[in-house]
Symmetry: C2
């Protein structure tokens, strides 16, 4: 399976992961400070959600890249691929 | 909702989160190096799993702490609370 060629997407993914990393550090601080379990749980759920949407974002970008590469330019444009993939991203975001 | 009083558990949670943080940094490196999406996806799934089991661990420790505090010492011991909660942890680990 190939890598992600689009630089903008890669930057977007990196930013999301960097944010998640910061959130994880925040959770460690919360535990060290002895904050309530419920607050820690909320933050952990937030990181999980952030990772899941990063995963979906990567998958959809991969789809776009691979389909575009395989379809003739006109077909990809005519099929309004971007629109379909936007919907796919929304759908995948609901299930995970 | 109260915090986690048990120091050993807190250290365990902190270690797990620190490891997950390291995994997230590894994923960022993979993206920067242009590694295949499938490999990145596997690593992201691993972090998700690690976070989920950390969440379950925290929840079960919380249960143990709160139940022990509310039950008379004999009752908690007689009910073999630790055993039940070990099973609860296994069950929660399967569903998430």
């Amino acid at each position: 399976m190939s890598d992600l060629a689009d630089d903008k997407t890669r930057k977007d993914l990196l930013n999301r992961l960097r944010r998640a990393e910061g959130q994880l550090r925040g959770i460690q601080r919360m535990i060290e400070e002895g904050q309530p379990c419920l607050d820690i749980a909320s933050q952990m759920a937030a990181v999980r959600k952030a990772l899941d949407s990063t995963y979906v974002r990567m998958t959809v970008c991969f789809m776009e890249q691979e389909l575009s590469a395989r379809l003739p330019a006109n077909a990809a444009k005519g099929a309004a691929l971007g629109e379909v993939l936007g919907d796919v991203q929304t759908l995948l975001g609901k299930i995970r």
